[in-house]
């Protein structure tokens, strides 16, 4: 496991760009990142790949967030599979996992830790 403090933190957007209880997408060097903001829940900000592997479309940021069995999740807007916000794993098809980034709020900025695609910052 890599240590979050060794990550390079890149600024993605403002905190004001986030939508409470919902998601937006950001661009990072050819990667599409879905950012979710759940005030008061765990790390508050979550970053998953925006690519839905089942639909083969970049739409994850446009899904509905919520919780299933106390785990924060997002539902794909196309075929409604649920992915855990903490680690990107798919509840319906365990063999699928969305790429997942460490992410943090730093003042008014939303920062993402690059080079550690497997683990979250928490």
């Amino acid at each position: 496991m890599s240590n979050p403090t060794e990550l390079e933190w890149l600024s993605l957007c403002d905190k004001d760009d986030l939508i409470p209880g919902s998601g937006i997408a950001a661009w990072l060097d050819g990667e599409q990142i879905a950012l979710f903001y759940l005030p008061g829940i765990g790390n508050e900000v979550f970053a998953l790949s925006n690519h839905d592997p089942i639909a083969n479309a970049n739409v994850i940021a446009r899904g509905i967030t919520g919780s299933l069995e106390q785990q924060p999740v997002v539902a794909s807007p196309l075929y409604k599979q649920h992915y855990r916000l903490d680690d990107g794993s798919c509840l319906e098809q365990p063999e699928l996992t969305l790429k997942c980034w460490p992410v943090r709020l730093s003042g008014n900025r939303v920062e993402i830790g690059s080079d550690s695609p497997q683990v979250n910052a928490a």
């Binding site: 209880g21 639909a55 446009r62």
Partner: protein, 829 residues
């Protein structure tokens, strides 16, 4: 041992029931069954024959499960009338040959009696008994304006109702001084007459028809013995039925004086190899013109042939029915013929209700009852009568309006195990309890196991009471929780939001739920909040609740782009608007297709493009079409009287008015409308949630149809409405649906799940039986008054537009989108 040959003549309701019962018994293994049916159809539900005019086709009425007559041991020969029985040779004769039998069962039913009135042929001599009869009536009606039913009994009134639903002006001509003389007393008959006349059916009592001649203004003229006459285009005879006993007569079986094949308590005729069941059979001097006694005979005979002790002991002839919202009920000794019987009556002219009890001389037992105007008393009274329950000290408390001092309705718990709950299929409370003990946990389960309430359906409410109370006693809780976050059904959540004035998902979750919510409860609550308060769906507390389609006010397609459907009310569009649409589509290279709802769908818009596209559409005068919402979609229309030579009303005008009224209304599922300008029905209104068809007097309203995966014909709800009443009824139906519908439940399934179905909905909406009418209208008024075009509001609000970007930190489009050109347009690669 070779198998015994059994032949059943008649594949009607009772014949079929017998075959079902017999094949399920052990004795079936010893027999080879051959069933002859004169009609071309497999046994169907004659009791619900009239549904054939309300959208049910022959398949929906079929009584046999698919493949039933393909199983071993039984052959069904349809369209083959048995023309004779050779009792010496033990053979039956048909035009195709002779067939041996060891055991013969006659289940030939009855035929409609047509009085020998000169001129009663062709369209002046129709009857109402079989599917083919109904086809003939439908044919004749298409060429008619006025129709007469001869006979004011139960079936005659049903036939009159059917004529009315076919768009005819209907008359009933009755020989006796009153309607339904068998079941009702004079006072009840009089009240029924006035109620039926209020519905636009003209009733002529004490009229004897002498002859039918060519008419002046219509095809025919009926001349009565009192010198009066009535002009009509068709005549349906419903002057009673006669047992179909011709085969018995010709082969010398013992018949009753006035017909009917005499049987004993084992259903055996005077020939010991021949049995008779159903309406052709005469038991103890009685013919039974209802299906329940026939079913009991079928069961009795099947059991007897299986060497079980069984005997037919007569049957209850109580009936209740509802014709266009008029309740009529008759139980047991309705006329009070029992010597020294005591009579109690309650009559209320203001309300148009009448109730009578016939009670034993000791004042302890209910012998009979008559109800007009309100059948809610029927179940309780029937239970008292059937089960010989001791009456309360003041029997009239059972028929007084519910106020202090009136006896409460008989609860399911008070019924003995032997109480018959379903008299069609003869299911007792004990059998229902047994089914629940064996694991049934819903009304549907119980129906499946016991067949209760699968006949006329009149006992549905009572059945539900019994099932619920039994489950409750066993501590079973039936979960209709919406999801893991709310232990409430959609209907309960709607109620909470309304009554407690809850304005946001978070508030509802905090007070009544747990967790964070999910993709099930969030859109559901979002929709409820919109139905109740009608805030913009993008107001901050609501924005995260919406499905992506609602969020971006467009329909997401498989590659993540959206389609855009501007509203085109009624499908009417000016050339200028059409050009504007084309210009926008061309500019943004949108794939363009005409929808089934008479508008234009523009595909392939990216998030970044949506606000630009809508800016231009709004400038051209378009509004959002809500194709993305669980809400009103379109009101389809034909041109109607504006252009069409057949149109009788302005269907386009009405369609536009309706679409503008209900646009933006959020509901449990999408809602589609159509308005047709005449009965040719070019707008296909009968396949919509709300269908409106013009008549020369106004509008016929159809409800709860849909196309799609499981198409359902809409049901005729009310006829000849003026504009204001039409809109009032639609307001009420839709708001009641929004109030009580389940999540993602179309109106069709919703109505089918309402206890009492169509009749119940009519009662709620037309008679305001729940006293909700005004409230529902006010709630609709609020939604109508607070309508806003969601795109217009969004375009003017930079906060709301923030999300319309593929990337929050970059201007580019999604680089993975690939398109190819097909038939000169772009589609996803």
């Amino acid at each position: 041992m070779s198998k015994q040959q059994m032949i059943v003549i008649g594949n009607g309701m009772v014949g079929h029931h017998f075959v079902e019962q017999f094949l399920a018994s052990d004795a079936a293994a010893d027999y080879q069954l051959t069933v002859f049916g004169e009609e071309p159809h497999v046994a169907y539900d004659r009791v619900h024959l009239s549904d054939y005019f309300n959208g049910s086709d022959a398949d929906a009425l079929c009584l046999a499960k698919p493949g039933f007559y393909d199983q071993d041991g039984v052959t069904l020969q349809l369209d083959e009338q048995v023309t004779g029985i050779d009792r010496d040779a033990k053979q039956v004769i048909t035009p195709k040959g002779r067939y041996d039998y060891d055991t013969l069962v006659l289940a030939t039913g009855s035929y409609p009696f047509v009085p020998p009135i000169p001129g009663n042929d062709n369209e002046a001599g129709l009857v109402y008994r079989t599917l083919d009869d109904l086809d003939a009536i439908r044919d004749a009606a298409a060429r008619s304006k006025i129709g007469v039913v001869v006979g004011g009994g139960l079936l005659g009134l049903e036939a009159a109702n059917a004529l009315k639903s076919l768009g005819l002006k209907a008359h009933v001509v009755e020989f006796a001084p009153q309607l339904m003389g068998v079941q009702l007393d004079g006072e009840a008959g009089e009240l029924l007459k006035s109620k039926i006349e209020d519905l636009g059916v003209t009733v002529h009592c004490s009229k004897a028809t002498q002859q039918i001649v060519a008419g002046d203004s219509c095809r025919y003229k009926m001349e009565f013995s009192d010198g009066e006459a009535l002009e009509t285009d068709l005549i349906v005879f419903s002057a009673g039925i006669r047992p179909q006993d011709a085969l018995g007569r010709e082969s010398g079986l013992e018949l009753g004086e006035r017909g009917g094949i005499v049987i004993d308590s084992q259903c055996r005729t005077s020939d010991e190899s021949i049995y008779a069941i159903g309406e052709c059979a005469l038991w103890n001097g009685q013919i039974f013109g209802l299906v329940a006694p026939g079913y009991t005979m079928a069961k009795t005979l099947a059991a007897y042939l299986n060497d079980e002790a069984a005997g037919f002991t007569g049957a209850d002839m109580s009936t209740k029915l509802k014709l266009l919202g008029v309740d009529v009920g008759s139980i047991g000794d309705a006329h009070g013929r029992t010597p020294e019987a005591l009579i109690y009556k309650y009559s209320n002219q203001a309300e148009g209700t009448y109730r009578k009890l016939v009670v034993s001389p000791d004042n302890k037992q209910l012998l009979g009852a008559v109800l007009v105007g309100d059948n809610s008393y029927y179940d309780t009274l029937l239970q008292y009568a059937l089960n010989g329950l001791e009456l309360p000290e003041q029997p009239d408390s059972l028929i007084l309006p519910a106020m202090e001092g009136a006896a409460p309705a008989l609860g399911a718990d008070a019924l003995p195990e032997t109480a018959t709950i379903c008299s069609c299929l003869n299911v007792t409370k004990g059998q229902i309890v047994e089914a629940i003990d064996a694991g049934a946990v819903t009304v549907a389960d119980v129906k499946e196991v016991t067949a209760a309430s699968t006949g006329c359906g009149g006992c549905a409410a009572l059945l539900k009471n019994v099932v619920d109370s039994e489950l409750e006693q066993r501590g079973v809780e039936i979960s209709n929780d919406l999801c893991e976050h709310f232990a409430y059904s959609r209907e309960e959540l709607y109620h909470l939001v309304r009554v407690e004035g809850i304005a946001s998902f978070d508030e509802l979750l905090k007070r009544y739920g747990k967790g964070l919510g999910c993709d099930i409860c969030k859109p559901t609550v979002g929709s409820i909040l919109a139905s109740c308060w009608n805030d913009h769906i993008h107001e901050l507390p609501h924005v995260g609740l919406q499905d992506t389609n609602d969020t971006f006010m467009a329909n997401m397609q498989k590659n993540g782009t959206y389609s855009v459907v501007p509203r085109v009310p009624g499908g009417e569009i000016t050339p200028k608007q059409l050009i504007a649409l084309g210009m926008v589509a061309d500019k943004y290279q949108l794939y363009t297709k005409i929808t089934g709802g008479q508008r234009v769908d523009l595909f392939g818009a990216t998030l970044n493009q949506l606000p630009l596209i809508w800016g231009e559409l709004i400038d051209a005068g378009f509004e959002t079409g809500h194709a993305y919402g669980k809400s009103l979609r379109t009101v389809k229309s034909c041109v109607g009287s504006t252009w069409c030579r057949y149109g009788v009303q302005d269907s386009v005008g009405m369609a536009i008015r309706l679409e503008n009224r209900y646009k933006g209304l959020r509901a449990p599922h999408k809602i589609k409308f159509a308005v047709s300008g005449c009965t040719r029905e070019c707008a296909e209104a009968q396949s919509k949630d709300i269908g409106v068809i013009a008549t020369d007097k106004g509008w016929n309203l159809y409800v709860c149809g849909n196309g799609g995966m499981k198409p359902r014909h809409a049901d005729l709800f009310a006829t000849d409405l003026d504009d204001a009443t039409l809109i009032q009824y639609i307001d009420r139906v839709l708001m009641f649906y929004i109030k009580t519908g389940d999540r993602l439940q179309r109106t069709s399934v919703w109505m089918e799940n309402l206890e009492g179905g169509l009749a119940y909905l009519q009662d709620v909406v037309i008679n305001d039986s729940l006293g909700l009418g005004q409230q529902l209208e006010q709630q609709m008024e609020h939604v109508v008054a607070t309508y806003q075009c969601e795109w217009k509001s969004a375009i003017n609000d930079p906060e709301k537009l923030k999300r319309f970007r593929q990337f929050v930190n970059d201007e580019r489009e999604d680089p993975d989108l690939q398109v190819v050109e097909v038939r000169d347009q772009l589609i996803p690669a």
